[in-house]
């Protein structure tokens, strides 16, 4: 049971506190409700570019990192389709430094040509390092546009085309900031060795006078139901061929989320899972195979991806995956197997409650998607999944017309 206290400031900032006395440290996690899906199709990659710009100094503080390091703190951030998440940890007695830094960059960034120019270059190098200079790195660039025809999930967080970053102007950047970065579009979670009353006092002091802003709630197009099977085939200079299949599923807040998650666990969570035992060990067709779901805030994807052994043909690989998906769509999972994946999830949830920073990040997500307290209902939701539910979800998900397949062939 994770203890939670929360308040909402008059400017709309939601503040959640979780006390964990087992650590001398504290964490501040600030989640902004802006991700790649909120970008305009001709200006993609901005949410992620912002993650970089947010470290380039703010209105009253020329450098973000140095003052934090000076009080023993450390920080980082990440961006995905839905949100941009910033976090820091520091000795609990220096908590106020974190409030000072985070509130100033929520108030206003120090928009400078120099910072933009450098971070443009850094992001372009990141694009090359992650997507182009890595074997299999371009898979997200190929799968997104195949699965999504209208929804912005079609582009990766780094952007649809790197020219969008190359051409980003200071005006674009300012506009993006003031229409997405705001107390009324953010959630702050403070966890660790802290006193909730003190946290609320500090929140008022540092964040209280930041004005709320008009958020750009542009209409995000709904992806129409897929009605035909899709395929893309490429050839690349990689050591082994790979097959990557995706199916449309519901969103993170869909009631069916827990069933879909356990469906992916039956297929591939742990060494005893079906795909590992059948396709790697018994049939010896793949060197690696995985099934997972995206957990996106809008309807997401169920992915099955595997790397072929040199003796396996693409046809064999595809047929073998189809056989496993047909099996789980036609025969009910046994009580034992269902219990196994539930046990596994329960212990994963116990492990995830060890670290105070981890808890802060999770609480921010839960608060955004409903309320932070829901984190304590997770086990119950997983426990109530049934074998009938799994069968029904498998049948609905693994339809041919809901499938997109990437054949990533090795030249070698």
């Amino acid at each position: 049971m994770i203890n939670i206290e929360k308040r909402t400031l008059s400017n709309g900032l939601r503040v959640v506190v979780h006390v964990d006395r087992s650590t001398p440290l504290a964490a501040i996690n600030i989640l902004y409700n802006v991700g790649a899906k909120n970008e305009h199709p001709d200006k993609t990659g901005f949410a992620h570019l912002f993650e970089h710009l947010m470290f380039g100094g703010s209105k009253n503080i020329p450098s973000y990192d140095a003052p934090l390091q000076r009080v023993g703190g450390d920080n980082n951030a990440w961006t995905n389709n839905d949100v941009t998440n910033y976090y820091l940890t520091l000795p609990a007695e220096n908590l106020e430094t974190g409030f000072w830094l985070e509130s100033d960059r929520m108030l206003e960034l120090d928009f400078s040509e120099k910072s933009l120019e450098v971070q443009r270059k850094v992001v372009i190098e990141e694009y090359k390092q992650r997507y182009l200079n890595q074997p299999y790195g371009d898979i997200p660039l190929l799968v997104g546009p195949m699965a999504y025809k209208v929804h912005p999930y079609q582009w990766p967080t780094i952007g649809k085309d790197i020219s969008h970053i190359e051409n980003a102007t200071l005006d674009d950047v300012k506009h993006f900031f003031f229409s997405h970065y705001a107390p009324n579009n953010a959630i702050m979670v403070v966890s660790g060795n802290v006193d909730p009353d003190n946290v609320f006092k500090l929140a008022d002091k540092w964040f209280g006078d930041i004005p709320n802003r008009n958020i750009d709630h542009k209409i995000i197009p709904v992806e129409p139901e897929q009605t035909e099977e899709r395929k893309v085939e490429v050839e690349r200079n990689v050591p082994a061929s790979l097959i990557h299949m995706v199916f449309h599923i519901g969103s993170r807040t869909d009631e069916n989320f827990y069933t879909t998650d356990l469906l992916s666990d039956v297929l591939s969570n742990g060494p005893s899972s079906r795909l590992t035992q059948s396709l790697i060990k018994d049939q010896q067709l793949f060197s690696d195979i995985n099934a997972y779901i995206s957990g996106d805030h809008h309807p997401g994807l169920f992915t099955v991806t595997g790397r072929l052994l040199p003796t396996t043909t693409m046809d064999q690989a595809e047929a073998a995956i189809h056989r496993e998906l047909n099996k789980i769509s036609s025969t009910k999972v046994s009580d034992y197997e269902l219990q196994k994946v539930k046990n596994k999830i329960e212990s994963t949830l116990v492990f995830s409650e060890i670290n105070f920073l981890n808890k802060a990040m999770n609480l921010a997500q839960f608060e955004l998607l409903g309320k932070a307290e829901n984190i304590n209902n997770e086990v119950e939701k997983y426990r109530s999944v049934t074998a009938d539910g799994l069968l029904e979800t498998a049948q609905k998900t693994f339809k041919v017309t809901n499938r997109s397949t990437l054949y990533y062939n090795s030249k070698g």
Binding site: P24, D65, P67, D74, S103, E125, Q134, I280, S347, I354
Partner: protein, 427 residues
């Protein structure tokens, strides 16, 4: 309304002035296996690391140690490979293996109340693995493919070239593996190595978390007997290459970025200058605000990331600067790395920067030792050299007292341009 806010003034803060470590209890099993116990944490979870004298040094043959360790959990006398996987998953537990130079580590993470069951399975895995040929073949096939994929990355090619230059192709520290090595591993090698290396003598156990009061009895029940009376295989010290190549180029044409590794041989953790060098390395490239990150990423935008680190092994170590840059920026990046080394030699670090790094590192120590699991991971690094936790307190003392002059002396001693080796993989 409240008092006026001064947003351009940093709030008051406290510096970390002491360093506390969770207490570590030590005891021995009936057969002499040393156990280190860090009992703490709010969750009913325990992590148990078994450190066997079964690393790649003891194996003295490429791949043998890691393949043996992987193959162990693929079937034992009582349980087939599938049954082991099935049971471990059913108990919500996790079984991992890691082979390092002087040890192979088998890690069990388990909810406390399932430890009797999970340890019973682990006992059979460790004492009676069956090593079926089919399982060995599967592991070799997967491992070979991983090796090929890794060999396609410029950063891997550059790191390998660096360590081979330092330690040669024979010694495991050189990290030299070739494709034909995959054909040379036989079941007999594995069975033989297991018999000689997964033995009570020289094995140590580190437990962290909440394993319950009866953990000593449980461990004695499953691992307390003298199930094998062999003594550990011999150690093997590397001969450091006397004539090092100072520039190495590994060509790879189909690449957008080149991997750059610039480093020099150093020493292990026992050297009197080691703590000071850790601090100097932090200033150079060991944190986000480091000199290299500031110059090469934040000011020039030449790369997504650049860092430096000190790697230590039981017998030696090295310091290495590492980055990926596009080919046309390569020369400038190399030049700037050497400029930063030169600045550290020629200019004393300012009090301001030294204070910042001292405070950052002391905060980092609290993070690295926050809770039983983080502490045990760091503690594990001391086992090779049989050093006590005084080592961490010593580092903290050096951190609190080191001066700009000390750091400049260290730079003049260890960051001389002519001692560095530059490796480039790519274009």
């Amino acid at each position: 309304m409240q008092n006026q806010l001064y947003r351009n003034t940093a709030p008051e803060f406290k510096t970390v002035s002491s360093f506390n470590l969770l207490p570590i209890q030590k005891f021995e099993l009936d057969n002499g296996i040393k156990v280190h116990l860090l009992e703490a944490g709010s969750q009913e979870v325990a992590k148990i690391d078994f450190l066997f004298p079964a690393g790649s040094i003891q194996a003295a043959k490429p791949l043998l140690a890691s393949i043996t360790s992987k193959a162990m959990i693929e079937g034992s006398e009582k349980y087939s490979a599938a049954e082991i996987a099935e049971k471990i998953d059913f108990y919500g537990a996790y079984l991992g293996q890691q082979t390092v130079f002087h040890q192979s580590v088998i890690t069990l993470v388990s909810l406390r109340h399932f430890l009797p069951e999970t340890l019973e399975i682990l006992e059979d895995i460790i004492k009676h693995p069956t090593f079926e040929q089919k399982e060995i073949d599967t592991i070799l096939g997967r491992r070979k493919q991983k090796f090929l994929i890794e060999s396609d990355k410029v950063k891997t090619l550059a790191t390998r070239a660096f360590t081979q230059n330092l330690y040669g192709k024979e010694h495991p520290y050189g990290n030299y593996v070739e494709l034909s090595d995959f054909e040379k591993i036989t079941r007999n090698d594995i069975v033989d190595f297991h018999k000689k290396a997964y033995i009570p003598a020289g094995t140590q156990i580190i437990i962290s978390g909440q394993p319950g009061n009866n953990i000593k009895d449980l461990l004695n029940k499953h691992f307390g007997q003298l199930w094998n009376s062999n003594t550990p295989l011999s150690d093997w010290k590397p001969e450091i290459n006397k004539e090092l190549n100072s520039e190495i180029f590994v060509p790879k044409t189909d690449t957008l970025q080149s991997a750059l590794k610039i480093g020099r041989p150093l020493f292990n953790k026992l050297h009197p200058d080691f703590h000071g060098m850790q601090i100097l390395n932090t200033i150079l490239g060991g944190y986000f605000g480091s000199r290299l990150m500031t110059n090469i990423r934040e000011e020039k935008g030449l790369t997504y990331g650049i860092s430096s680190f000190i790697m230590t092994y039981k017998h030696t170590g090295f310091i290495l600067v590492s980055t990926d840059v596009k080919a046309e920026n390569r020369e400038l990046a190399v030049k700037e790395v050497f400029n930063e080394l030169k600045r550290l030699r020629e200019e004393p670090i300012s009090e301001d920067e030294l204070t910042l790094v001292r405070n950052f590192l002391s905060g980092d120590m609290i993070r690295n030792f926050d809770g039983p699991f983080a502490t045990s991971d760091n503690y594990r690094g001391l086992i090779d050299l049989d050093i006590s936790t005084e080592y961490f307190h010593d580092f903290f003392k050096v951190l609190m007292n080191i001066t700009a002059k000390d750091l400049q002396d260290l730079a003049q001693k260890y960051l001389k341009e002519e001692d560095f080796i530059t490796v480039i993989a790519g274009k």
